[in-house]
């Protein structure tokens, strides 16, 4: 057939042409990073998309910063001291720093940043709520500012390292306006803005004048790729250097490939199963303890999560402030679980419901395994998937969950306070069932002191109390798993993926 041959010829010509552009896709000196989502605005106060941090931490600096080891260190502030009985914090600012447009960084820029964040412009966005403990910021001299506090905020120094607290250029924003700034960001960070194609890519170039030393890369290109399988395909094809979302069942495939490998590190995301502590059989603490003992979490981590997670005893990972290595998870003990259930008067065959996020295929497998383990001790579990926003917005806050529900939290401050307060304090959105005055008092007391040791003690006491009451079934802390091309050198992969590519290079 003549036309069939012609079609085939046209197709093979097209395929042959394809060989040229694919080879040499990686330019020397350019690092290409695939991230899941376009935050839509590069203004630090507009968004709470985690992926913003992956980009923003290369453009902007805060007064403090976290290293790849998650330790807090000085950044645009070189030192700080607490004054007036902790009601005032005085920051000494780094001298000789310039914004990407040449505007000098000084105390005025810090005041402008926080006036904007706490004022009208900030009220329109989600970031402000993190910084409402600050009353006002005053300029002392060109390189000194005072933060006047409304109330103590022990997590403030951590918050200053990211997101809304990133320092922005006053003159540039006043002249160009907020809408322009959204799409043409200017900061003091190691890379400066070059080009932004909404939903497609964002390109940054090296800031030769960076105060922390000249970066080695010429360019960093971020590509927005939502589908994890597509990110992996791009990594395998050698067209992205770092893929930030790796389906765990593809880890082995990547490690076997010639040009890429998998890097994993402790991440901020923890997963627990919460209980309805007000109704049904899970109202009894001994039933909740029994269900916790019924599940072999080590097996789940090894078999279903390819070992890329760590068991937890409280709703936090090992990097979190308040983590207690001495607090051990309830051991896997089905025999003991059966005894506890019988003593609590639960008859074999009792049926309960577990609500999960429907889009989370990984946890669906975990939930099925949990159901099997619970079935083995005589409790039948039905798994009910919800669309994630429906579960979060409607089902949980209104107390319409089943006896158990999936809860996932990625506290970016790496401080148990953030998680514990929202999860267990009476009246919080995430806590539809518990009212516990003792727990409330503990949670409140650690919010009112800067005393690190006292806070650590209190937060550990909270974790132990929650574990003893079995308010939730702690499952695991997920590792941050990233695919990296072998040509990339010295890429620090922070668990919260807020990259800073100052020392990174590509061959």
């Amino acid at each position: 057939m003549y036309s069939l041959k012609k079609t085939a010829a046209a197709l093979s010509a097209a395929l042959a042409l394809g060989v040229l552009p694919v080879a040499g896709a990686q330019a020397a000196g350019t690092l290409t990073v695939a991230i899941t989502q376009d935050a839509g605005s590069w203004d630090p106060i507009d968004t709470f998309v985690t992926w913003w941090g992956s980009v923003g931490s290369n453009i902007y600096d805060g007064l403090t910063m976290r290293g790849a080891d998650m330790k807090l260190q000085p950044a645009l502030a070189t030192s700080w001291e607490f004054l007036d009985n902790n009601a005032r914090i005085r920051f000494k600012l780094r001298e000789g720093v310039k914004f990407h447009d040449g505007e000098p960084f000084d105390a005025n820029a810090v005041k402008f940043t926080f006036d904007r964040l706490l004022g009208q412009e900030g009220a329109k966005g989600p970031q402000r709520s993190n910084y409402t403990s600050i009353d006002k910021v005053e300029v002392v001299d060109a390189h000194t500012v005072d933060f006047f506090m409304k109330r103590p905020d022990p997590v403030l120094l951590t918050k200053l390292a990211g997101y809304g607290a990133m320092i922005v250029p006053p003159k540039y924003i006043q002249e160009k306006g907020d809408a322009y700034f959204n799409e043409h960001p200017v900061g003091t960070g190691p890379f400066k803005f070059v080009d932004y194609k909404p939903k497609v890519s964002l390109t940054l170039a090296r800031n030769d004048d960076y105060w922390g030393g000249k970066p080695k890369l010429d360019q960093v290109v971020y590509r927005f790729i939502a589908e994890p399988a597509t990110q992996v395909a791009e990594l395998q094809a050698g067209r992205v250097d770092i893929a930030t979302v790796i389906p765990l069942n593809l880890v082995a495939t990547i490690d076997k490939s010639a040009n890429a490998h998998v890097v994993s590190t402790s991440g901020p995301v923890t997963i627990v199963v919460r209980f309805d502590t007000a109704h049904g059989i899970t109202a009894k603490p001994e039933v909740r303890r029994a269900l916790t003992m019924a599940v072999d979490r080590d097996a789940i981590i090894k078999q279903l999560l390819m070992g890329k997670a760590k068991p937890i005893a409280s709703f936090q990972g090992d990097l979190s402030f308040g983590y207690d290595p001495a607090l051990k998870p309830f051991p896997f003990n089905p025999a003991e679980a059966k005894k506890l259930l019988a003593a609590a008067g639960v008859k074999p065959g009792e049926s309960i419901q577990l609500d999960v996020r429907g889009s989370d295929s990984q946890f669906r497998e975990v939930a099925q395994a949990m159901a099997a383990y619970m079935q083995a001790v005589g409790v039948k579990v039905t798994i009910k998937p919800y669309e994630t926003p429906v579960l979060i917005n409607d089902i949980i806050p209104q107390g319409k969950t089943g006896a158990m529900w999936q809860n996932q939290w990625g506290g970016w401050t790496y401080d148990y306070d953030n998680t514990a307060y929202l999860m267990y304090h009476t009246g919080e959105k995430w806590n539809p069932y518990d009212k516990d005055a003792k727990l409330d008092a503990m949670l409140e007391s650690q919010r009112n002191t800067y005393d690190v040791e006292e806070r650590r003690k209190t937060l550990r006491a909270v974790a132990a109390y929650v574990a003893d009451q079995a308010l939730d079934l702690p499952m695991y802390a997920l590792d941050t798993v990233v695919g990296v091309n072998k040509r990339v050198k010295d890429a620090d992969i922070p668990g919260d993926i807020r990259f800073r590519f100052v020392n990174t290079s590509v061959e």
């Binding site: 376009d38 507009d46 009220a123 993190n130 497609v200 590509r223 939502a226 589908e227 791009e234």
Partner: protein, 307 residues
């Protein structure tokens, strides 16, 4: 004829209006964007949420929001994305050409594949090649497009690194997504071509043409194919809506910077203005294509106008 066209255009305008109303209302039932935006933002108070809602204009009654949206549309203003404030018009302006290009190339490729195969099957009815083509089309029908796309990426980007697995790197990036769509479309189209061709080949004028001693190729491609073309084009026009729906999925896999990706991301983040804009424009495109098909049909076949 004029009356017929006016009637069809009015119907189309009504459909688009209904779509805007339905979509605007439906997206507001799916959850609070303020909560989505502030997820993980630490201790968000009800006051913070109210501030965010007011900033987005969501504190006003639905009727006011809808009317202000429609008022903007009349001036060609689709509003601004909740996530960052990019103009929705700009986002659609970038995405629509990418989607339309993919749709038309897929359709063209599918014609190139299905017409010769369908004719061959019809001519060799009941023989081995007919059986083979029919089985092949059944296999093609049974592929989920998502899976087929991933298999093609595995084959043509990883095992044999010939084509870019995703994104837009110039026309070469069209090949794989268009091929995926074309294979899916061809599975149905081959069967359609085969059936219409069989009907046509039994018509008297084909016998006349053959008895005149014309070459078989001329009979098939000059006489028979032309008469098959009308039902084919009509069918493909109607297929367009489904085609756009399929492209949404394909775009997702190939990270194609089109309307599907735009709408998908907007759903995930409850970005009402982007979702409203994207669905309205897609509805408009489908309605216009169907309108053109209707009108063309009316011109070709006068009996249709009176229905």
């Amino acid at each position: 004829m004029i009356g017929f066209i006016v009637k069809r255009v009015l119907q189309a305008v009504f459909v688009v209006l209904a779509v805007t109303l339905l979509v605007s209302y439906a997206v507001r039932l799916t959850g609070d964007p303020a909560v989505m935006l502030s997820q993980g933002a630490g201790s968000v108070t009800e006051q913070d949420l109210q501030n965010i809602r007011a900033g987005l204009g969501l504190d006003r009654p639905f009727a006011v929001q809808y009317l202000s949206y429609m008022g903007g549309l009349l001036h060609g203003d689709f509003g601004r994305s909740f996530a960052g404030g990019t103009s929705v018009g700009r986002l659609i302006g970038d995405a629509l050409p990418a989607t339309l290009m993919l749709a038309f190339v897929s359709l063209a490729l599918s014609i190139l594949i299905s017409v010769p195969l369908g004719i061959r099957a019809a001519v060799h009815k009941g023989k081995a090649s007919d059986q083979a083509i029919r089985i092949l089309s059944l296999v093609g029908l049974s592929f989920p497009n998502f899976w087929l796309a991933l298999m093609l990426v595995l084959l043509l980007s990883i095992t044999f690194p010939l084509l870019p697995p995703s994104g837009w790197d110039g026309p070469i990036s069209l090949v794989m997504p268009a091929l995926t769509m074309a294979i899916i479309l061809s599975a149905t189209n081959v069967r359609l071509v085969r059936t219409t061709m069989l009907e046509t080949l039994s018509a008297q004028y084909i016998m006349v043409a053959r008895s005149k001693g014309l070459k078989e190729r001329v009979v098939l491609y000059k006489h028979a194919l032309r008469n098959c073309a009308i039902p084919l084009i009509t069918y493909m026009g109607l297929q367009f809506g489904g085609l756009i729906g399929g492209i949404v999925v394909i775009e997702k896999v190939f990270n194609w910077p089109g309307m599907g990706t735009l709408a998908f991301d907007a759903i995930a983040s409850r970005d009402y203005p982007v979702l409203q804009g994207a669905v309205t424009v897609l509805a408009l495109v489908i309605v216009v294509v169907n309108l053109l098909v209707d009108i063309a049909y009316g011109i070709v076949d006068p009996r249709i106008r009176t229905r």
